[in-house]
Amino acid sequence: MRIFQNRKARNLLAICGFLILCSLSQAAKIGELTDTNWQEQAIEFWTMQQPSVRMAVVGTTLIGLCCGILGSFLVVRKLSLLGDTLSHAVLPGVAAGFLWNASKDPWAIFIGATAAGILGVALVGWIRSTTHLKEDSAMGMVLAGFYGLGITMTTMIQNMAMGNKSGLDKFFFGQASAFNEGDIQLLAIISIITIAILLFFYKEFLTISFDAGFAKGSGMPAKVLHYALMALLAFAVVVSLQAVGVVLVSALLITPAAAAFLLTDRMHWMLILAATFGMLSGVLGAFISYLSNDLPTGPFIVLGATFIFLLAIYLGPRHGILPKALRRRKQRKRIALENTLKAIFHLCERSDFERRVFELNELSRERNISLRQTEREVANLAKAGMASRQSKDSPLEMSAQGRFKLTSSGWLRACEIVRNHRLWELYLTNAAHYRVDHVHDDAEEIEHLLGEHIVKRIEERLQNPITDPHGRLIPSREQVTV
């Protein structure tokens, strides 16, 4: 998960997201150009009068739910590739199930696919335990091998002279409108089993995912739980195939869970969020693909999930890029304001605290910023009620001679900042034995961060000092009332 903290990776993701959005709008245009009217289709979708629409919505929602929950466990256990392996490994099973009675009987396909998926996962475990190959190599090989076999088998079926072989190609990219009642029943059963098992054994799955050794040492059957999770995953993958397709079902396992991981620090919230995101992207994908007859469902479900993931990266309250940038901006603004106050204090100090009113150009020189910036700073101070303008000119026309003074609250804050700065310098020299010429830069940063509590402790430690290491007065609390 470190990747999300990497700026480069985030930028790359942002570009990907942009491209996805472009392709989405492109896709909508294709819908417009064909003879189906996408607005009518949209109304038809949301009114849900057609049973096929209802089934597609229920189906994709349940798929999103199952995949979101189970995928969360893959993500926190760093087994994301296992979802990929599983989804590709089921393909030969799908083909075999199809061959069983040469039709799209959901149960035959379900049994074949689940068996193939579990076989694939078991094979990964076997390769890992008998050779010294690592898990990722084993997963990569099993994934490709099973997928190759699956494609060979489905191609053979396509070339065979058989009656109803339509629908098999749906397993590659998915088509939610292909759901029938049997599929929905199967999905509902799998969803209920998944949720029930995870609810009943939540604490076991949690412990085993976090610390398998400890879980085993507490008497939890680690192997049984692991394979139970794998079986549930195989079920979920198999029932998702029709809607999402073999290639993209792993994305539905990982992406909503990854988005949830970014937004929360607690496992149960991650599960709830991942399930919600999965369901949302399911419905979204079903809706977009319904707009035109020739749009596959799977890619749109996955794009929906990816879109949610991008939102999570950018808007997540704690780790999101945008809130972080906003927080940083706010802090920069505060620091600039405090530096201005400090500069005004210095001006005042230089006049032996005689002068109270200052000109903009003085401040501009003291602060070492342009006149324009100085104007803005003073305007900000005025807005915060810390300064008042003395000239009659309107704020926009404030000239270099524009005059202003600090209000009592501004003066209070200015003294506080200077006190922080000088106290910290004194603390570094006296208590931490820094050299006097080393302390200024450090204090420049710390002055904005010291809280009231720490300041009091420093004062106590230094026995309420009067002057800083450079011999200047430290403004005391009492002196503030000017």
Binding site: M1, V76, K78, H132, F200, F201, K203, E204, L206, T207, S209, F210, D211, G213, F214, A215, K216, G217, S218, G219, M220, F261, T264, D265, R266, M267, W269, M270
Partner: protein
Amino acid sequence: MATPVISTGQSSKVFVPLEIHDLTVAYSKRPVLYGIDLEVPQGSMVGVVGPNGAGKSTLIRAIMDLLPVASGWIQVFGKPFKKSVTRVGYVPQRESVDWDFPVNALDVVLMGRYGRLGPLRRPSKIDKEIAMACLEKVKMHPYATRQISNLSGGQQQRVFLARALAQESDLYLMDEPFAGVDAATEAAIIEILRDLQNQGKTLIVVHHDLTTAPDYFDRILLLNMRVVAFGLTKDVFTFENLQTAYGGRLSILSEVALSRAQKKLEGDTHENISE
């Protein structure tokens, strides 16, 4: 809570917390532990000391039944480990888990209660109170709701210790609980361990630092694939034994550390130690 079966003569069979008989553990045919015989008496605090690759962690993991045993047997309170599960507490190495995992400190400590609860039962309010009390014992209660990656290494180690305390066991197995921990935390942890020992619990602690080992533990297990020596610290912690355990790898640094530690012990042993 069940108290360890300790009979002083009347009963014919005395079950010690840990008995190991002729244990051999191998990784892909290369033996890591070889012919280990061990009998740890109740209420002792054993430091497991030995060079890198001596099989210290392997021993702990073998006792916990986390590794296949090539030959020999291990009994915990007179039974196979699986049947004494609730009487054993465990502190694994800190690096063994992913600290980015979405749980907070209290969640982790609560996991210590799950073994007692058994399947299908949710932790009760009492379990949560016990977990919180354990966090308090290691002085981590102000951080109960912190996500665990936001804790320092020493704090993470203390959370692991609190989880083991929450297990309320009679035998504790700890794999380097002092690794990456500052001196103050180390002192705090050792105090908690002594407290456990005073309650009659048995502790087996993998330890790396030869200088502190004789201060911390009343018994030492010197390990290097086999048991070099096991017994009371003053009998085991001798130059000859350490030389055997560390072989040629006993660097000057550890020699100096050793002689310093030995001088501390001199009062008890009256042994003449070469410098």
